[in-house]
């Protein structure tokens, strides 16, 4: 089971990586801000899967803080007018 969960976690990371390739290219800042969202959601999924596989302590807390702060980072970026 833990092998399966780790494999899915790796898969999610690869998916996020491919998405990042597209999203960081732009054009436009809205695309780039989505990189934070993508990494937030994907990162949380990979974190929960990997943590559940190895039974590490505190993984859900890190996932919670990641959820909270990815949201605020995105907010900060949308509030930044760019030229």
């Amino acid at each position: 089971m833990s092998e399966f969960l780790l494999t899915v976690a790796a898969l999610v990371v690869v998916t996020v990586a491919i998405g990042l390739l597209r999203v960081l290219r732009g054009p436009g800042d809205a695309d780039r801000i989505m990189a934070v969202q993508l990494l937030g959601t994907g990162g949380i999924a990979a974190l929960l899967l990997a943590g559940s596989a190895t039974g590490e302590a505190g993984r859900v807390d890190v996932a919670l803080i990641l959820a909270l702060l990815a949201a605020f980072a995105s907010i900060a970026f949308t509030k930044a007018p760019s030229g």
Partner: protein
């Protein structure tokens, strides 16, 4: 019983992974910012939800399960609202014709 729970975990987590993949395919294939935003917010959030549901049987007690669910709720809430803000940035950059 534990075999059934394991089956649930495998099915739900696989479904979650599928939706993550679908979200990335959307990111790659959709033609403009707003549709890409759609793909990202909806598919990835659903993928995360399925992953959370799949990991629930493995959570540490009631507190662990509640924490897992609150992660999902938090991501859904912030995803829904932040995507509105991102869409505004997109609208500022390329005003709809």
């Amino acid at each position: 019983m534990s075999g059934l729970l394991d089956l649930w975990t495998v099915v739900a987590v696989s479904g979650g992974a599928f939706f993550f993949l679908a979200g990335t395919v959307g990111l790659l294939r959709f033609p403009d910012v707003l549709t890409r935003l759609h793909a990202l917010t909806k598919a990835d959030n659903l993928g995360l939800g399925l992953v959370v549901l799949g990991l629930l049987p493995r959570a540490e007690g009631l507190q662990g399960a509640v924490k897992l669910l609150s992660v999902w709720l938090l991501v859904m809430l912030s995803g829904a609202t932040v995507s509105q803000l991102i869409a505004r940035v997109a609208g500022r950059e390329s005003p709809p014709a």
